[in-house]
């Protein structure tokens, strides 16, 4: 990893952490940690405060859903978490490195090494095959060897696309494209996967599939941050962070029971739909 040094590493916040403070977990820095993050834009002569100081941590292995109505600062926070934009003030730690003051090129490097993106509209490169698309994040690190290709094929197989390796995005269904995107997001072994309305373009059955995939990844230890406005989707995360008017309005943990309930509910719904079709 890039040795970005930092003056004062984040203090793990007991308030915002969903994990019980056991000795080992407390010593380990969270995957993501934001402190008093604020962002304002100047539109014409008016200053718009999109974020007014938000703080929370995402420990390693967590699964967080970020919710909020439009205008709540959800998208701004997403851009910030994705290192696509810089905050006006506050700090943003990825591991132990403060990325809030990095240059454009350093941010690009961080994106390529530490973040796995999953977008609503899949955002695959049309002229590339499935395997080539999965390899893109490592491409910009200059890693293009056979080892990387093998890893891409293994990831494609793990999301159930072993027989679609040479296909172009156009030849795949929406659900399959999103699987490619998820495989791509894991290619660089990121600190966390950042999913932006990842199921927004999919029907219920496919949504259930994709959420199942996220569950599996999370069980394997992946950290996931998901921005969504659907309660049913958020219900499957371990924790829901809500924003309102640029401020954190709530941060609550979903119990394992409620998550299982949500899973069952959706499975039933999908089954009912399947029967309707026949």
């Amino acid at each position: 990893m890039q040795p970005y040094s930092v003056a004062n590493p984040p203090v793990p916040s007991a308030v915002n952490s969903s994990f019980p403070e056991t000795g080992a977990a407390a010593a380990k820095p969270p995957a993501v940690s934001i402190r008093e993050l604020a962002k304002s834009y100047v539109l014409k002569s008016e200053t718009v405060y999109a974020l007014r100081g938000v703080s929370f941590d995402v420990p390693e292995g967590d699964y967080v859903a970020i919710m909020g109505p439009s205008g709540s600062g959800k998208s701004t926070l997403l851009n910030m978490l994705g290192c696509l934009d810089k905050p006006t003030s506050g700090q943003f730690f990825l591991g132990t490195d403060d990325v809030s003051k990095m240059t454009d090129d350093e941010l690009a490097d961080i994106r390529s090494r530490r973040i796995g993106f999953v977008f609503q509209s899949y955002n695959l490169i049309q002229q590339y095959s499935v395997v080539e698309n999965i390899q893109v994040p490592l491409y910009y690190q200059g890693r293009l060897g056979q080892k990387e290709k093998d890893r891409a094929i293994a990831l494609a197989s793990s999301v159930g696309l072993a027989d679609r390796l040479g296909h172009r995005p156009m030849q795949l269904s929406g659900g399959q494209q999103q699987r490619v995107a998820i495989a791509r997001s894991m290619m660089n072994d990121p600190y966390f996967i950042l999913a932006d309305e990842a199921t927004g373009n999919l029907d219920s059955a496919t949504t259930d599939e994709i959420l199942g995939l996220f569950d599996r990844l999370n069980n394997e230890g992946r950290t996931i941050v998901m921005v969504t406005h659907e309660d049913e989707v958020a219900a499957r995360a371990k924790r829901i962070v809500r924003l309102r008017d640029g401020l954190l309005s709530s941060d609550k943990v979903n119990s394992e029971e409620s998550r299982q309930e949500a899973r069952n509910r959706q499975a039933e719904h999908v089954q009912a739909l399947a029967q309707l079709k026949h």
Partner: protein, 440 residues
């Protein structure tokens, strides 16, 4: 590795739109093609001119009689042109002259039994063959003794010999000149020599194929200076002592000054009729060089315009491509591409475009010389009048590819590609990834 991959990707992206890429290449292709073909043709034309002039010799000065314009000619039988006294004056006053060759030419018919040939009867000295680089096939050229005795001997050009004596050996036989009612004994036959083309307006083409050479003194004694010719039913009388004096200068560096001296000697004597011209092949050589430079200049200009147009075409297409691929740029940026990576990606595409255009232009350029020959051949075949009106330098030019222009053309093409790709590439790299990702 990364670069190799970038190039592969560039080619791949361009192959997504083969027609568009092909059309974009066209401007560069035509530019490079133009550079190669135009320089080849101009090189061929100037080679031709240069060859002619060199065959005249860089150390010669030609003083010719020129027929004055009709209003200056008083009476039907006025005399004009060079005099023998001019020759004496030049030889005795200009020290830098190595040799002087007086020539008198008359158009005559030559017959042997039923065979008749029209040609030039040339009165000359034995040096003539050497100065004009004529080679003897059979027998000998004129000798000093022939001139001294004013013998009625002649040397035939190859064509004349073949026409007059199709079946027998010409040496020792006699030819008849009806207009002078005179017989000449053949002592030699020359090798065939191609006609040289005219140089501009100052020197006629030199065709030696219909010549019959006799000693100067013989011509003067038996025919004299007054020549009657029948032209379109009219008798024309022409009085002239010499048609031409070919002067040779020992030192090439002194050619100009010698020419100036000759002019200053001769011009006052011919100021009235303006019936003498001094031609310096060396000067023509330099003119030809200038002509070639001009040709080259025009070629380069045309090529530059074409390359600029090609560059604008590339820029236009790349700008459209950047807009069209905004989303792709956003994705790449989000997944870790730096601004430099995006610039590189688009620059590579423009370089691939312009370089392939240049390569195709070179290939087509090599087809240029055969194409030119075909063009000249078809003009000659289907419209001989037009062909005749073309300048000799163009008619006989043999286009030769100037290899030095190839790397130059490729270099310019790639530079144009780089320059015209730079702005679209920078524009692509400057895009905000957030906006680019949102772009539909």
């Amino acid at each position: 590795m990364l670069w190799l991959r970038t190039w592969q990707l560039g080619v791949k992206s361009l192959l997504l739109h083969p027609l568009r890429s092909g059309l974009t290449m066209l401007g560069i292709l035509i530019g490079v093609w133009a550079v190669i073909v135009l320089t080849a043709v101009s090189q061929g034309a100037s080679d031709q001119v240069q060859k002619q002039i060199e065959s005249l010799g860089a150390n010669t000065i030609i003083v010719r009689s020129v027929k004055p314009s009709a209003d200056k000619m008083t009476g039907m039988a006025a005399q004009y042109g060079l005099r023998r006294s001019d020759l004496e004056l030049i030889v005795s006053n200009v020290p830098t002259i190595e040799s002087a060759l007086p020539i008198r030419e008359i158009r005559r018919q030559f017959t042997v039994s039923d065979n008749t040939v029209d040609g030039r009867l040339v009165g000359c000295t034995p040096d003539y063959a050497e100065v004009n680089k004529l080679k003897v096939r059979d027998g000998r050229f004129l000798a000093d003794a022939d001139d001294l005795r004013a013998d009625t001997v002649c040397v035939l050009a190859a064509r004349v010999a073949d026409k007059l004596f199709p079946l027998v050996e010409p040496l020792g036989k006699r030819i008849y000149i009806p207009e002078s009612e005179d017989y000449y004994r053949v002592v030699g036959v020359l090798e065939h020599r191609n006609a040289s083309a005219a140089i501009g307006g100052s020197l006629d083409s030199q065709d030696f194929s219909g010549d019959v050479y006799i000693p100067s003194k013989t011509l003067r004694r038996r025919i004299g200076d007054t020549v009657f010719t029948r032209r379109s039913g009219q008798m024309e009388t022409e009085i002239m002592e010499l048609n031409q004096i070919t002067l040779q200068v020992a030192d090439v560096d002194r050619v100009r000054i010698t020419a100036a001296m000759v002019e200053s000697l001769i011009n006052p004597r011919h100021a009235m009729l303006n019936d003498v011209a001094v031609v310096v092949p060396l000067e023509l050589l330099e003119q030809a060089r200038n002509l070639r430079l001009m040709f080259l200049g025009i070629g380069v200009l045309i090529a530059c315009i074409s390359l600029i147009v090609g560059g604008i075409g590339i820029m236009n297409i790349m700008l459209a491509s950047v807009t069209e691929r905004t989303r792709e740029i956003g994705i790449r940026r989000a997944l870790g591409a730096k601004r430099g990576d995006i610039v590189r990606q688009f620059l590579v595409e423009t370089i691939v475009l312009s370089f392939s255009g240049a390569m195709l232009g070179i290939l087509l350029g090599f087809l240029g010389p055969p194409m030119y020959r075909l063009l000249i051949y078809s003009v000659q075949k289907f419209s001989p009048e037009k062909f005749a009106s073309l300048p000799d330098a163009i008619r006989q030019a043999e286009p030769t590819i100037v290899y030095g222009t190839i790397p130059l053309a490729v270099g310019i093409a790639v530079a144009v590609g780089l320059l015209s790709g730079l702005y679209p590439a920078i524009r692509a790299a400057k895009m905000n990834p957030i906006d680019a990702l949102r772009h539909e």
